[in-house]
């Protein structure tokens, strides 16, 4: 209770100070250039204040200009310190370690290794299999989000605003409640199970794919080794999209139902059809969600490890994580595998940065 009162007092102090600054800008400027220097004593007191609860803040510091920022950050830092500590120990430090291990010839089996500098990176640069795996990963990274999101948006739109019913401005197609649940089914299954099921579907003799092609008279399209051939990447892509599309249907449905119906009503009064409504209203208003989904799906596509590891035979195609796994756990080259991991890290980082930069739009407040 008491500390809450203190806090309000702080705020009042700060406001007073801000007001003073506004009225006497010249004085403030003078102070900034001259008398407001950060003396060692003041710095010490500021440091102490940072680690103490607000009510113990020394008076001399409380009215310092820097205290405002300190107060702001102190709140956040203390709030986040525990999670950040956990994050640092279990996420950041392994990362830094990874950069170190990527420059060693560590086998992964013993505690001994030698520092080899950039030898692993040089090897990676000349490693055809690495580049092949990278190509596959990048292909998935580009295609999987596009396909999944387009499908997710389409289905979500049809489920929330695709129907036409009397007396209702916005409605989903008939039975949309059922569809919504059905689409989500794959999301409930573990990825390993999905991979096993789909490996069965691609199986040449008993699999549903070849049997289906046969049934519709496309015998010539049948293949004896879907997953061992160059088709493997597309087979994996299909499974990846299939397993994630339900999630995006639900995500986008939620975003779309947040759009006020008046907008739809207005659009319909103006004579807008389904596609115009979608591109002029629904899509722009759900863009933020789409972008988030895009990043998330891209990362899922970059991973794809479980699918490739379970479905694709050893001599078939690799993606970066599966190649990393083979190098580390089959070939006993944990050092080199870590180098590949660093490459994967860089790719993920670039992707995330690019995605956060492009498509940044002003948020439309509804």
């Amino acid at each position: 209770m008491e500390s809450g009162a203190e806090g309000r007092e702080d705020v009042a102090d700060t406001r007073e100070r801000a007001g003073g600054n506004m009225t006497d800008a010249g004085a403030a400027g003078r102070r900034r250039s001259g008398g407001d220097r950060l003396t060692p004593g003041l710095a010490l007191r500021l440091t102490v204040a940072f680690f103490l609860p607000p009510r113990f803040t020394p008076r001399s510091v409380r009215y310092d200009r820097r205290y405002r920022k300190l107060d702001q950050y102190r709140f956040i830092v203390w709030f986040l310190s525990l999670p950040v500590l956990v994050y640092g120990v279990f996420v950041v430090s392994p990362f830094l370690q990874a950069f170190f291990y990527s420059m060693t010839d560590w086998t992964g089996y013993s505690a001994s290794y030698e520092f080899t500098g950039f030898e692993n990176y040089e090897r990676m640069w000349n490693d055809d299999k690495f580049w092949e795996a990278t190509r596959n990963s990048l292909l998935l990274l580009v295609v999987a989000p596009v396909v999944t999101l387009v499908m997710g948006l389409f289905f979500a739109y049809m489920l929330t605003a695709g129907g036409r019913r009397r007396n209702e401005a916005v409605a989903g197609v008939t039975g949309s409640g059922v569809y919504k649940i059905v689409y989500f089914f794959p999301q409930v299954l573990s990825l390993a199970i999905i991979a096993v099921i789909w490996a069965r579907i691609y199986s040449p003799r008993s699999g549903a794919l070849n049997a289906g092609l046969d049934a519709v008279g496309l015998d010539s399209w049948q293949r004896e080794d879907w997953l061992g051939s160059s088709w493997a990447i597309w087979c994996v892509l299909v499974v990846l999209c299939w397993s994630f599309v339900g999630f995006y249907v639900v995500l986008f449905s939620a975003a779309m139902s947040a759009i006020p119906t008046e907008i739809y009503e207005a659009a319909r009064l103006d004579g807008a059809g389904r596609s115009v409504t979608f591109f002029r209203i629904t899509f722009p208003l759900t863009w933020e969600t789409v972008r988030t989904g895009w990043i998330y799906m891209g990362i899922q596509a970059l991973d794809a490890f479980a699918l490739v590891n379970v479905m694709v035979p050893e001599h078939g195609m690799d993606v970066l994580p599966s190649y990393l796994f083979e190098k580390s756990f089959r070939d006993g080259q944990a050092g080199y595998a870590t180098t590949i991991g660093v490459a994967l890290f860089v790719i993920t980082l670039l992707f995330a940065t690019v995605m956060l930069r492009i498509g940044r739009r002003d948020r439309i407040e509804l």
């Binding site: 702001q72 950050y73 956040i76 994050y87 996420v91 392994p94 990362f95 370690q97 990874a98 010839d105 560590w106 086998t107 992964g108 089996y109 013993s110 505690a111 001994s112 290794y113 090897r123 199986s203 040449p204 003799r205 008993s206 699999g207 293949r223 004896e224 080794d225 879907w226 997953l227 061992g228 051939s229 990043i295 990362i299 970059l302 991973d303 490890f305 035979p313 050893e314 001599h315 078939g316 990393l324 083979e326 580390s328 756990f329 089959r330 070939d331 006993g332 080259q333 944990a334 080199y336 595998a337 870590t338 991991g341 994967l344 890290f345 790719i347 993920t348 980082l349 995330a352 956060l356």
Partner: protein, 470 residues
């Protein structure tokens, strides 16, 4: 610079930071290195009953791979060990590497490891790090059953060889004994009224006869195309002699360009080209192909003697499983028809950092006794590396056929080392090339070129440890 730290920018920034955590890079570094403690057991007094000098009080820790063989055989052997020596801690797992790699890194491994299964540890890497105990001491000790015979003398041919990695040290003991070859059903051959083919012309004739009956000549697990190596390698060796295979194992330049390799590849390619291979085989797993084979859809399957146990559930009563040596090419073959790939498998090793390595050796000596070996054969219907241990036993048809085929081969044994020396090369490169050839994507010449190119790449890759036949 103004500080614009509001709720929104804070969330954006923490989201960006969170993205950094996504890639799998941190997964690896998690296995950080640590130190180990050293409180190893002293060697006890050596006596006639205890030739290795096991400390009778010391504990022993044994880890068994819980795969197709289970772990009952090990429990029984441990009971024998415990009659004379200290208590045994027994554990079984299907994930050898996941469970034991951290302990190897810490320098605190168990005393005996059954390093088997798909998740086995890379023994070559362990040897390179000096983490494996040399078993020569065990091999030179008197055997359990007859003090006048050393353990080495009780072993099947190739057992010692399979433990060597390019030097005289023997790093592991492969306990089971596997006969590789063309597995078939005697019943199926009888129905077609044909004999087991000894030359490639006969093979073509048999396959043609099968085709007329709507049956394929061959099937194979295209998902694991290196199953083909089980018959392909000895086929090559048979045509060109053992030197050809050794040159391939030693990664010699142009080893794959030998005429024998070409002849063998072309012969196999002919099977596919003439349509004798079961449709769909390129995409089958080992189980799927074995099921088709058990359903009389195909005559032959390249496999090892574990297949009888593995496919037991789907094998018809009248199947009468048998194995034959790989069919030869013709009368000009360098080695006789009976020539066969048979070698010890299912590796056991004693870590160098083990607390009680002598106890580990003694445990292996117990396992190599007649009693344990016969028990193993009875429990899991597989031969062991112990000479004559299965004599007089009532074996299932496939296993007794394997035993007879092996005995008929005499000294004409081939032990290709690619599968354990260069696993990636064997499984991915040779396997991939053969898979593509059998699926009709490439011709034999290109398959050979791919193998040779991969062999050269392996030879020039410094990160892969090289071995030579001794």
């Amino acid at each position: 610079m103004t500080s614009k730290l509001n709720r929104r920018s804070l969330l954006t920034r923490s989201a960006a930071a969170g993205l950094l955590s996504v890639p799998a890079v941190s997964a690896l570094a998690g296995c950080a290195s640590g130190g180990g403690d050293d409180e190893s057991v002293e060697r006890g007094e050596t006596t006639d009953d205890n030739p290795l000098g096991v400390d009778p009080e010391a504990e022993l820790e044994v880890i068994i791979f819980d795969g197709g063989f289970g772990d009952q055989y090990a429990l029984d052997a441990e009971a024998i060990y415990q009659e004379n020596y200290g208590p045994v801690t027994h554990d079984k797992t299907t994930e050898i590497q996941t469970r034991l790699q951290p302990r190897m890194v810490q320098g605190d491994p168990p005393d005996v490891i059954n390093n088997g299964g798909a998740d086995a540890m890379d023994i070559a890497a362990l040897i390179r790090n000096g983490q494996v105990y040399d078993l020569n001491e065990l091999l030179d000790a008197p055997s359990l059953d007859d003090p006048n015979v050393t353990v080495r003398e009780t072993l099947m041919p190739s057992t010692v060889e399979m433990g060597q990695f390019g030097s005289q040290e023997v790093w592991r003991l492969n306990y089971a004994f596997t006969v590789y070859g063309q597995w078939y059903s005697r019943t199926a051959l009888e129905r077609l009224e044909v004999e087991y083919p000894r030359t490639w012309d006969e093979m073509i004739a048999v396959c043609e006869a099968a085709k007329r009956q709507g049956m394929a000549g061959w099937t194979y697990p295209g998902v694991y195309p290196y199953y083909f190596n089980f018959t392909l390698y000895p086929f090559i060796g048979k045509i060109g002699g053992v030197e050809v295979l050794q040159a391939i194992d030693n990664l010699e330049p142009n080893a794959w360009r030998h005429d024998a390799v070409k002849a063998a590849f072309e012969a196999y390619h002919e099977l596919a080209a003439r349509g004798y291979v079961l449709q769909g085989s390129p995409g089958m797993t080992h189980e799927e192909s074995q099921d088709e084979w058990n359903a009389y859809q195909a005559l032959f399957i390249p496999n090892g003697s574990w297949v009888e146990n593995e496919s037991r559930r789907n094998t018809p009563e009248d199947f009468d499983m048998a194995v034959g040596p790989p069919t030869g090419l013709d009368s000009s073959d360098a080695m006789p028809f009976e020539t066969l790939w048979a070698s010890a498998s299912e590796p056991f090793f004693v870590p160098a950092d083990a607390r009680n390595p002598i106890g580990g050796l003694e445990f292996l000596r117990v396992m190599l006794g007649q009693e344990s070996a016969r028990n193993f054969t009875e429990l899991v219907s597989s031969l062991t590396c112990v000479r004559g241990a299965a004599d007089g036993m009532d074996l299932p048809p496939g296993l007794s056929s394997a035993k007879a085929t092996f005995e008929a081969a005499g000294d004409n044994l081939l032990v290709p080392r690619l599968p354990d020396w260069y696993k990636q090369f064997n499984n991915e490169e040779v396997g991939g090339a053969v898979a593509a050839m059998m699926a009709g994507d490439i011709d034999p010449d290109e398959a050979i070129t791919r193998c040779q190119r991969a062999a050269d790449a392996t030879a020039s890759d410094d990160s892969i440890q090289k071995f030579q036949h001794v």
